[in-house]
């Protein structure tokens, strides 16, 4: 039986196990000492304890993950998301040891792991990027910023993710920010190189799911809207993105497809964009943000909208088989929402709330999917991220999906830890959200509700 080493934990470990079961593969899970008794460890055919609880001594060490894959005699290593999933070192080490890495090639990971080279790749593929560019001194920064128009963002060329990004609303702020950003970039990424680009204060976060066969063939599986964010952390996602014009959709999809085809992208990936809701043009203004070269937390909304299994497709491709996705997926009917239930207290500034779970009841019924690793009596460890469960709901239109999700939240009962469930009930009931197309800064202005601001705490 072909074995798969799962180099991750939590709900995504359970998710990859489900994909293994679908394909008749044998899942082996790498666990830290804190996850020995996790649901994933119970569901897998075998669990290998690779190190102690802290991720820096376990899940963040590529050599331990590859060692575990060798010990398991695994043909494939699935990295999940986060941890080492986008580390070129892990992909390379897999290649050296004859293990198929269920993700892009190391050079792809390297190219998209660096903001500068990712932006360059986007430009090469004819993908729209924000006005701006690299600079070497403050004067040049000002020149570019004036060209792009304030406000602007200053970013590290060699940075990744949301780290080390500075906002400058005017020339004075830019002058103050540049030296700080440069020294941060030097400290964080070993290189002080910076670039400046236009900032869109009222934009939506829309991303395109792509799946490449590694030889230039790319399947595009529509867009997700992930604009409901708290400090750049996504909380609620949907597919399709509501209210985009056909021309805007085509611009997003075409851009993502060209970029993925250009680099011979292999496996599942996401091309993230900002869509400017201010301009009023058709297509809307679209700018490239970055590529997430892995399966994403929010992949289920695309799966349920299109009726596909992206993780199984990753595993098939890694095994040298056709990925099995439809070549030209038809437009999804209906609408899918995902709410991330985190073990955080939304009334206490989203303070993490690990601990012993008491009751864990999740909703059931038509169109409902729950991805979770949490069961009654589970000890939710404090070492890792706070994602406790993902509620995914599909219905025939967006209004029905919102209603169904509200019901699903009512049917969710988790005791022992605080969760973000109540936050989601608030968001789904909000007229702005129901109208569609909120921007990435909407949540920060919406939560906590006005009447609860000023430290009233959890009394509602």
């Amino acid at each position: 039986m072909t074995r798969v080493l799962i180099a991750n934990r939590g709900e995504i470990a359970v998710r990859v196990i489900a994909a293994c079961r679908r394909l008749g593969l044998s899942p082996v899970l790498a666990v830290s000492a804190a996850d020995r008794d996790s649901l994933g460890a119970r569901l897998a055919d075998r669990a290998l304890c690779i190190g102690p609880a802290p991720a820096t001594a376990s899940y963040l060490r590529p050599e331990l993950l590859v060692e575990a894959a060798l010990a398991a005699e695994a043909a494939v290593l699935h990295p999940g998301y986060g941890f080492c999933s986008e580390q070129p070192a892990l992909a390379e080490m897999c290649a050296e040891h004859g293990i198929a890495f269920a993700g892009p090639r190391p050079e792809t990971l390297r190219e998209f792991g660096d903001k500068g080279s990712a932006r360059a790749a986007a430009v090469r593929a004819g993908v729209p990027v924000a006005a701006g560019g690299e600079f070497t001194d403050v004067d040049q920064a000002h020149e570019i910023a004036r060209g792009a128009g304030f406000p602007v963002l200053v970013k590290a060329v060699h940075g990744g993710g949301g780290r080390g990004i500075h906002l400058a609303r005017d020339e004075d702020e830019l002058a103050r920010v540049v030296p700080v950003a440069a020294s941060e970039a030097q400290a964080g990424f070993g290189n002080p190189a910076l670039y400046v680009e236009q900032f869109f204060p009222r934009a939506r976060h829309v991303e395109v799911q792509v799946f490449g066969d590694g030889e230039g063939g790319v399947v595009v599986l529509g867009e997700r809207d992930c604009s409901v964010q708290r400090r750049h952390q996504k909380l609620l996602e949907e597919c399709p993105a509501p209210g985009l014009s056909p021309a805007t959709r085509e611009l997003l999809r075409g851009s993502a497809e060209r970029l993925a085809a250009d680099v011979g992208y292999r496996g599942a990936g996401t091309v993230e964009f900002l869509v400017d809701t201010e301009a009023g043009t058709d297509p809307a203004t679209v700018v490239f943000l970055e590529v997430n070269a892995r399966i994403q937390v929010e992949h289920p909304v695309t799966e349920e909208a299109y009726g596909v299994d992206l993780v199984a497709a990753q595993l098939r491709l890694a095994l040298g088989e056709p990925h099995g996705l439809p070549e030209k997926p038809p437009e999804p009917q209906g609408h899918v929402l995902e709410c991330r239930i985190n073990a955080e207290d939304p009334w206490q500034d989203f303070r993490p709330s690990p601990g012993r779970i008491g009751v864990a009841e999740f909703p059931r019924g038509p169109g409902i999917r729950v991805d979770t690793h949490v069961t009654a009596d589970h000890l939710f460890p404090p070492h890792y991220d706070s994602l406790l469960a993902k509620l995914i709901v599909r219905a025939h239109d967006r209004t029905a999906a919102i209603e169904a999700m509200r019901g699903a939240l009512r049917a969710t009962q988790v005791t022992g830890v605080a969760t973000t469930a109540q936050l989601h009930e608030h968001l789904l009931a909000h007229p702005d959200f129901q109208a569609g197309s909120v921007t990435t800064r909407w949540l920060d202005a919406t939560w906590p509700p006005q009447q609860h601001r000023g430290g009233e705490g959890d009394t509602a």
């Binding site: 000492a33 304890c49 190190g51 102690p52 609880a53 820096t56 001594a57 376990s58 601990g355």
Partner: protein, 167 residues
């Protein structure tokens, strides 16, 4: 000295919080006394009975020094098995266990070897990176549980040691 009356014992939720942290931590034994609270936790069944007090090497609290980055391993993690009064020396991480520094060399230890806390009982290799495993306790090797060249998991018992002077 009487504890200050203002100092309330922690609430149950606070206690759960602590237990949650401890549960997934590497500590095998925890004992905590606060005014109005006594907490004792152990991963070893039967050790909490108190019939065989375990005077294992207790390192007194020291001024905190920065932990040595990624390599910070409690490699010497020893554990006492109740009843047998032996200390388990366990693997600090998953990898291949070697009993000798090189294929031609003599084993680090054999059954009967006398060891100090610093004596290496073997090495764990991960992708060509060698992590020596110190005995962690002075005494005599009485059992070798892991084979030369065997893949061992984190916290898997490698050798067992009868501590100096017994337990």
């Amino acid at each position: 000295m009487t504890p200050p009356p203002a100092d309330q014992p922690p609430s149950w939720n606070e206690l759960l919080d602590l237990v949650a942290r401890l549960d997934s931590s590497p500590y095998a034994d925890v004992e905590l006394d606060l005014p109005g609270l006594h907490l004792r936790m152990s991963t070893a069944p039967g050790t909490a009975e108190g019939d065989s007090p375990a005077p294992a090497p207790a390192v007194p609290a020291q001024p905190p020094t920065p932990p040595p980055a990624e390599e910070a391993q409690p490699a010497e993690a020893g554990s006492t098995t109740a009843g047998a009064q032996l200390v388990d020396v366990t693997a600090p991480l998953l990898g291949t266990f070697y009993r000798r520094p090189s294929p031609d060399a003599d084993p680090f230890v054999e059954i009967g070897s006398e060891v100090t806390a610093d004596t290496s009982v073997g090495i764990v290799e991960v992708m060509k990176m060698m992590t020596p495993v110190p005995a962690g306790v002075a005494g005599r090797v009485v059992e070798i549980r892991a084979q030369d060249g065997e893949v061992v998991e984190h916290e898997q018992v490698l050798v067992r040691i009868a501590p100096e002077g017994g337990l």
